[in-house]
Amino acid sequence: MSTLKTTLTGYTGYRGREGHYAFLLHRITGLGTVLFLVIHIIDIALVYLSPKGFLDVVALYQTTLFGIGEIALVFCVFFHGINGLRIAYFDMFKPANWSIETERNSTRITLIATLILWLPATFFMARNILIHNYGLFGG
């Protein structure tokens, strides 16, 4: 139990500014993605194990609540990928950038690049929800 507390205190108490937040976001987005990945493998396996169950799960995924979760998932996937590229790039070509002082800029660029990919995707996914669940835009 003390290990849990020590680690969590380290996660929240360490003041590494942007690099620290990028580390935390990388963990959260990674864990979020792998959680859905496990669920997703099982739900797709239902097409073979129980096709009726698959249709029930798809109906659940079409609800607004899961639609919002889907939008969050797409953020996780994009951020985790771009931040992963940043980490690999620094490790291979710019090891000097691994410092609290220099990480502000690269973390900001990572977030902006994530938003550039995520916002248009969000637009279309939100539009789908509004069309199919609320009958808007001629749905």
Partner: protein, 132 residues
């Protein structure tokens, strides 16, 4: 013969398990970025979950190329994810014995989920199932 202190000592270290695992995290990551991003953009944004049904999956898997694509996703994404979970868990679990138990538990979990996914990927959409 001057400045021996400035000479760089290079030592060959035999790679251990975590060294190899770390390398494969990188390799799989570089592969997963195009694979997962294209999958997400196609299925979640372009196709959308509202047009998803058994016919869609059956049509998609009628093409062997998509089955190979999904097999790559299943293999690399799940392994990358489970190793990531192991690394996060290592932050919280310090005991040697507890870490061994955790690693084996994750390995068995990974094997089981991957096997379930592979079974569906090979079996495909079951047509004889009474839907009504």
């Amino acid at each position: 013969m001057t400045a021996t202190s400035e000479q760089i000592r290079r030592v060959k270290v035999r790679p251990n398990y975590d060294h190899v695992a770390w390398k494969w995290m990188r390799y799989s990551a570089l592969l997963l970025i195009p694979l997962v991003w294209f999958h997400v953009i196609l299925q979640d944004v372009i196709v959308g979950v509202h047009t998803m049904d058994l016919d869609y999956v059956a049509q998609r898997w009628a093409n062997i190329g998509w089955r190979v694509y999904d097999a790559l996703l299943l293999g690399f994404a799940m392994a990358h994810g489970m190793n990531g979970v192991r690394q996060v868990a290592n932050d919280f679990i310090k005991g040697e014995r507890a870490r061994t138990i955790m690693s084996w538990a994750l390995f068995i979990f990974w094997l089981a989920i991957t096997a379930i996914g592979a079974a569906a990927l090979i079996g495909g959409v079951r047509q004889d199932f009474p839907l009504n």
